[in-house]
């Protein structure tokens, strides 16, 4: 069965990414215009734009199942791509699409439910003999039960949301006294984020590496893996930089972990693209953590080292095609690194810094790939994630990729919000990072500062402050009378004033 028109139930860079592959395959796309970002970049690239700006509902349309189905029907879309986040891992949404004779570009509702729910996934993994951190049998009902399980498996433990993902609803507990507070926080956060307050407990593996395997499966029962991604550079369980492959894996370990990743996917008859996440400890023991039943933010690094377009594979699988690749066809070539350039204040603990992107220049070298959903003039709005662009660089090996990454980072020019650029510019020069000596605790434990600045840079900034002071205080006519209201003034007004000098 051929897909002719895809409704993209998402926004931002992933919407742009899906449109790109759909067009390559001569498939039309439908995008949804919202009042929050009526001029978003992805809208200009879709074939059909459904105007939903009149929708005044509290729930964003990308989370509104009924509405999305209605839009799909109205726009005669025969398939829906959910992207990541929003409803990407919602089994009910996938089922609703099927009920309305719309192809859901993703796994079966049954697989989403089983493997997406972490407690169910744990049971499946346990039954198939997959290595896993010790933990609760299922969900836990209160902090007392949590304490009693923690006593058994030993502190520290981690509380996780059963329906979780993306680091939300997770809390580490090191002492019984902290349990009550953390249990409540995790459960509340889980309810808010996933509409399901249930949580479970696992032994917390200290200072592991986060290694995940890309899976592809078709509806004929073929399942392969596309190698691993190294995603240990995280803060608050949110990934910042990803690589493929990982320097921590030998060819033998890659084979073992890959085989087990495929085994987990097979246990739920998985099809489409998916990701099996593992923790790897310092003795190279690995533990199954969870499986994500969607395309990942960091999928481009796998695409670069395998040469396979994962969105295209998702669409082909959804059309019922058999995988063209067998496991032995998959060869990893070169090295890829992805930096997530977000609108965040690195100096304030990566706090979001939404705002309007005033200027945006990104490198266009042949060894750089940029996935972005914004352009100069776009706004990073507080209601969505803080992603500006993914800077993906390749090299023939890790050293080469790092060298290219350094060059590319210096070419990025963004004005309008604070960004994670200072963090990456520091990271690619950090000796431990360069040596591959880092774990998920790297940002919190190994770094004194999340950025580096040279003496000269600070001096030049001081020079500018002094210049402004002189202009404002020592000139005959104060440049602006609204100087007193400095605090309320937009930096862009100040910017204009600099231009007058």
């Amino acid at each position: 069965m051929k897909i002719k028109r895809i409704l993209i139930a998402n926004r931002g860079e992933i919407a742009v990414r899906i449109i790109k592959t759909a067009h390559k395959m001569n498939i039309e796309t439908v995008a949804v215009r919202t009042s929050v970002e009526p001029n978003a970049m992805f809208l200009s690239q879709a074939d059909v734009v459904y105007d939903n700006t009149e929708d005044t509902s509290e729930i964003p349309v990308f989370l509104n199942i009924e509405k999305l189905i209605e839009i799909a029907v109205k726009t005669k879309s025969d398939a829906v791509h959910p992207g990541y986040g929003f409803l990407a891992e919602n089994a009910y949404f996938a089922q609703k699409c099927i009920d309305n004779k719309i192809v859901f570009i993703g796994p079966s509702p049954d697989a989403i439910y089983k493997i997406g729910n972490k407690t169910v996934a744990r049971k499946i993994a346990q039954a198939t003999g997959i290595p896993m951190a010790m933990g609760s049998e299922g969900n836990i009902s209160d902090e007392e039960e949590a304490v009693s399980i923690a006593e058994k498996i030993g502190y520290p433990v981690i509380i996780k949301a059963a329906s979780g993902g993306g680091g939300r609803g997770m809390r580490i507990v090191r002492k019984p006294e902290e349990m009550e507070k953390m249990f409540i926080i995790a459960s509340k956060e889980a309810e808010k984020a996933f509409n399901d307050p249930s949580v479970f407990i696992e032994k917390y593996i200290e200072n592991p590496k986060h290694i995940e395997f890309q899976i592809l499966g078709d509806t004929k029962g073929n399942i392969i893996h596309l190698g691993e991604r190294e995603c240990s550079i995280q803060r608050k369980h949110q990934k910042l930089l990803e690589e493929a492959p990982s320097g921590a894996l030998s060819e033998k370990l890659r084979k073992t972990m890959g085989r087990i990743a495929v085994q987990i996917a097979s246990a739920v008859n998985y099809y489409s693209a998916g990701t099996v996440e593992f923790l790897l400890d310092s003795d190279k023991n690995f533990y199954f953590m969870e499986m994500n039943t969607r395309i990942q933010v960091e999928h481009p690094v796998t695409e670069i080292v395998t040469g396979i377009d994962l969105i295209e594979q998702q669409i082909r699988i959804a059309m019922g095609e058999a995988l063209k690749y067998r496991q032995e066809d998959i060869k990893l070539k070169g090295w890829a690194i992805e930096c997530r350039i977000n609108a965040e204040d690195v100096q304030a603990g990566f706090a979001p810094d939404p705002g309007k992107i005033e200027k945006l220049h990104l490198p266009s070298d042949s060894w750089v790939r940029i996935d972005t959903g914004v352009q100069a003039g776009s706004a990073i709005v507080p209601s969505y994630d803080s992603m500006i662009a993914k800077l993906i660089v390749k090299g023939k090996d890790r050293k080469d990729a790092l060298k290219n990454c350094k060059l590319a980072l210096d070419k990025v020019w963004i004005k309008g919000t604070k960004t994670t650029l200072p963090f990456f510019r520091m990271l690619v020069r950090n000796p431990k990072f360069i040596d591959g000596d880092f774990t998920t605790a790297f940002i919190e434990k190994d770094l004194e500062k999340n950025y580096n600045s040279s003496e000269y840079e600070e001096m030049l900034a001081a020079w500018l402050a002094t210049k402004l002071f002189i202009e404002e205080n020592f000139t005959d006519k104060s440049i602006n009378d609204d100087n007193e209201k400095g605090k309320e003034m937009s930096p862009w007004l100040l910017n204009k004033r600099i231009n007058q000098f």
Partner: protein
């Protein structure tokens, strides 16, 4: 435009880490490194916005905020805060600081705009450094706002389910 003031021969920019940068007044458009003077140019155009040109390289700059003599400058995407002082105000500041002694009240401010999900302490609570005091939700993440010091809560201004702006005071702590 006259940019000098008679009598003041130099100005100091003090960083938040108390580093002192001294510049001659009137300000030169160059900075000396070792024996060489390097030209500093402040420029602006449509393509790049405002930038500083130094040693043949463009650095993006921005004034994030300016309040009296206090400036937050974004230079090459890194933020620096300076207070600019004249030799006279510098002297006066030293005297005032010596008289006042060390501050012993710590105010905890919202690091970002968001919604207060929970307040975990009340007035009179004793808290330890690093202890979570307030849960603030911003951009779909719940953030623990932790106590920067050991001390006692003297005032709680954060209210659950209320929205706060960046830098709104959440809690005041008496430092112990």
């Amino acid at each position: 435009m006259p940019t000098s003031k008679p009598g003041i021969k130099k100005l100091y920019a003090l960083s938040s880490e108390n580093k002192r940068f001294c510049f001659p007044q009137p300000l030169k458009h160059s900075i000396r490194i070792g024996k060489r003077e390097y030209e500093v140019k402040l420029k602006s155009d449509d393509k790049y916005g405002t930038y500083i040109l130094w040693k043949n390289r463009k650095y993006p700059v921005e004034v994030v905020s300016s309040r009296q003599n206090r400036y937050e400058i974004l230079f090459n995407d890194i933020s620096y805060t300076f207070t600019v002082e004249t030799p006279f105000s510098m002297q006066r500041m030293k005297v005032i600081n010596a008289a006042r002694g060390k501050t012993e009240k710590e105010t905890l401010k919202a690091p970002m705009p968001g919604k207060i999900i929970d307040v975990l302490v009340r007035e009179g609570s004793n808290v330890l450094r690093g202890e979570p005091l307030v849960i603030l939700e911003a951009m779909k993440m719940q953030n623990e706002i932790q106590s920067p010091v050991n001390g006692q809560i003297i005032k709680v201004l954060a209210k659950p389910n209320s929205n706060v702006m960046k830098d709104d005071i959440l809690v005041e702590i008496k430092v112990e």
